[in-house]
Symmetry: D2
Subunit: 319 residues, 4 copies
């Protein structure tokens, strides 16, 4: 049993990580950090039954001199930047869920690896520092990377119309995040300025028009990608490419572009589903992706990466 | 007081029309047709208080030899096709909310007028037969037509990512329309085959990639349009064009592309709101539109058209 | 046209009042007060089309020396207590929607009248100061008062299980009011200490166990009342009593205790619906009531009371 | 590894059972029956990753001569009545989730045991046939049984105001189950005639007034119980009684009657939470209970019972 700990355990992603790692047969969760829940037990705060529920949140795991082999940071980027160097100094493996080290992870000679699990598996196995991808980039890259790699996407901008449930905003307060303001609502936000745009452009190597919208649900994320295809490529070619690429992947499912694609069916699961619209028009194809923003978009992909990093079976604790 | 009647009064749009016309100071609602509610009063079925609530649904208004000056048909297209010739024969003005006569309305020498109120006002005033636009085409054309007319949109396909609340599907049954299947869900539907595509391409005169999605709400519709702009055009130019065009329109509001644009704020109103994203990237602009699919997308636009057709003030009964 | 103004026009009830009075054919809305929206127009903030939308919010109507015949206060109780004496001094009629003067309104010799419209009509017509009832008390008293008056309710405590949509909490912030905390949730709140308990006990003249719960919707309120009946009373007797009492009331509808009773059907309307469960068991009957907490529970009842107070038709502006 | 199978695997409870048993380390899921999904794999229908997802649904497990040690029936009562005798004949242990054998399970000398896990543990260990309780009875009995047993509840009827999410209605169709009819709605149903009333009265040994209502969510169930207490009993006494009784129970949590009690926090978990309102009034106490109707109200309690029946650790596969 590998001893692990969670920084930022009281955020929405941190709670999901706690739930996953508490039930993970290959690791022992020995520390959970949260300033706001300091001193309370996991059970009191989340209802988690069983022995792991007795563990109590602490303000700082570093000060507690906790001995662990790996730490998962579900902290905001600035907190990650502050905490992680000390963990690295102690020789601990780190999976960071924030935006703090993603850019560095894409540079040559960096000790960090960008943890898009299905697309960087060997590099993740070989590193001690994983920068977990953002939720929108996970859905989008899983949908488009194989098509780009296979040379099926023509030059030109990619249009990404994206929608996310409200937990995507974290637990921050603000009048616009009130129930009465968000319920039954739908609107675009951070148009032209979302923090995931550079991550997406790095990952896909393409210029893109990314537009996130609010989805009036708590969880779930959907991307609709409108992409130019090379002349002579059919929708069937695109789907075949994705099916071949993901045939052996347990957590990436290629489905048909109908109701099988709904966010409702991936919420609560470690899956990302992708699909191709059945017609090409004006040289443009539609490629879709969906996932649970707190799981494959955060905590379950972090667990995949932890497993890879520790040499455990990749799906352990997740199925 | 002009005597009017409603065919198809028990569908979701028909109920909204009933509510609007019952409170309209310039018309008297004298007939409401519904097979399923035949014999019941409006009050029993919808709770509408006041004298109009006492009117009872009838299976057929034509057989009842009801004398009216105008009839509004909120019937499915095949029912409209069957009923409307008999009403025309009686010399009655018709506003049809279905898809039945929209194509005909766009042909030269047709007695029908395509009723996009703000864009065909004089023609509607001069006709006796109005084909009311679909909900998606109303939002999309109000967002894009002024920009196309002003020559600001470059050649190339238009990408329309559209989302609609569940009432857009009408009251039809089917397992996928159950609460448990649609709640908290989001997915694309009729990809590449939606019935509004020809209407949109006729209206905009452009090839387009239209992809409707389910929004997990009862009412509300949103379109996100990704369109190529002519070189040198800024987002501010686009917004200025829309603001100038709609400066005097009571029911079209140009807002900034932030939360003011949410569907929640137009549901229950006769408004369509449009906005322009603040940046152009890779030659593409974002233009947004939203409305209540049952009001500006159906019943309130039909009332605008009825008012124009009858020579009443266009906003009567709506504000 | 009677000149009227609204204090507290930017709260959820204030927005509904603004919408109603802007379209009311018997009054002219000449002032709307809001600190947070000071200087903005109604149209900018609420999208209201038409001439009334051009009116701008002001911080203080009293300082502006606005001349009006009546003022409606949708302010919190402490603000009402501060503002209203100055309005009274100017000889203006007042309808207060807060809790500030409800207790005083039930005392002998008070100039205030407790404005449960259907049950105090003559007193409201004769006064210049109306304390508008709370939302829960409006639903509960309309359901139970006729039965108590008719002597059909036996001694013993009344159990009131009540549920309200989230707008009942107003626009206050707080982590528990976030979308992510309230969506899909349901729980009791202020158990044993809700501010409507004294109002209910005064109004019904009975001891009661009142338990409000959150309903995960924006609008709508439902009360399920479990009450002892006098021996020999059947459910049919109770229903007949309600039907007779409300036969001529436009805004109180007696329906059967099935789906006709749902909150969905009263949201957006000025109605309160009441019903009786079809069986008596262990001497207990079930009596239900539902309404829109922002309309019959606040703004539409305030308008009924304004109409009565001004000698206008009671339903004017509401149907 | 104990070989088990599921009858009725495509209903909402059956899907949850499939998910739980596929991940259960002590059992091997070897058969899943469903007429509607006959021939499809679990993975195709539910997305379940991992080896268990490859198992295919069959129309009939009995005809397939499948060898198993236990079968869980998530079938409607009439299907359970038809199928179960044949399974019994084969010497297989049975956990039935329907209403079919609950009454028989409460009779002396019956081979069936009524599986309210925490209250019949030894009997369940000793039997081969478990009638799993209904969702409302599980919440209500866990809330009230310890108080009744301790003699703290006075004579007189118990009032149970209950609310359930829409999955409680199963996957049946019907216009009233459409999204547009149920979203944002709340109403009582089957007032005076719900099938759980006899089960509740048997279980509690008391006459009660039970009134179920729709909660506009997919999952979650809440009961608010208004019960007479013996003179001198305080709310603290009631809470102490529950805390003592459930101190060592992993799946029954006693919480304070505030937001900790919300259905949102038990949905997706095998928990039932109970709480006592902090005041007694007119001799009446409030006792609350909540759970996930598909888990503790169905599939997770069935798994607890299966574990007990097979001699496995009670919480295995559930935490």
């Amino acid at each position: 049993m590998v001893r692990v700990a969670i920084e930022g355990a009281s955020g929405y992603s941190g709670i999901e990580l706690t739930r996953i790692l508490a039930g993970h047969p290959g690791v022992e969760l020995v520390g959970v950090a949260s300033g706001r829940w300091d001193g309370d037990s996991i059970r009191e705060r989340t209802g988690l039954p069983g022995p792991a529920g007795r563990l109590c949140y602490r303000k700082s795991l570093l000060k507690a001199e906790l001995e662990v082999e790996a730490v998962l940071c579900a902290t905001p980027a600035n907190a990650s930047q502050e905490l992680i160097p000390a963990w690295i100094e102690r020789g601990v493996r780190v999976v960071d869920l924030s935006n703090a080290f993603r850019e560095e992870a894409c540079q040559a000679d960096s000790p960090w690896v960008y943890g898009l699990s299905e697309h960087a598996r060997e590099a993740i196995k070989a590193t001690r520092l994983v920068a977990n991808p953002g939720c929108y980039p996970t859905a989008t890259q899983n949908a488009l990377l194989p098509l780009i790699t296979a040379g099926l996407i023509a030059p030109g901008p990619l249009v990404i119309d994206a929608k996310s449930g409200v937990t995507g905003a974290g637990r921050s307060t603000g009048e616009h995040l009130l129930y009465n303001e968000m319920a039954d609502n739908h609107y675009p936000y951070r148009v032209g300025s979302h923090q995931h745009v550079p991550e997406l452009e790095r990952g896909l190597g393409r210029e893109l028009l990314f537009t996130p919208h609010l989805l009036p649900t708590r969880r779930g994320l959907f991307v609709s990608c409108y992409v130019p295809v090379v002349s002579g490529t059919s929708a069937a070619d695109l789907e075949a490419c994705l099916r071949e690429r993901y045939a052996d992947e347990p957590f990436v499912q290629v489905v048909s572009a109908d109701r099988a694609l709904g966010v409702r069916d991936v919420v609560g699961t470690p899956l990302v589903r992708v699909a191709v619209g059945s017609t090409i028009k004006a040289g443009l194809a539609r490629v879709f992706g969906c996932l649970d923003n707190l799981l494959k978009g955060a905590a379950s992909q972090a667990t995949q990466n932890l497993n890879l990093c520790l040499g455990l079976p990749e799906t352990q604790g997740l199925i």
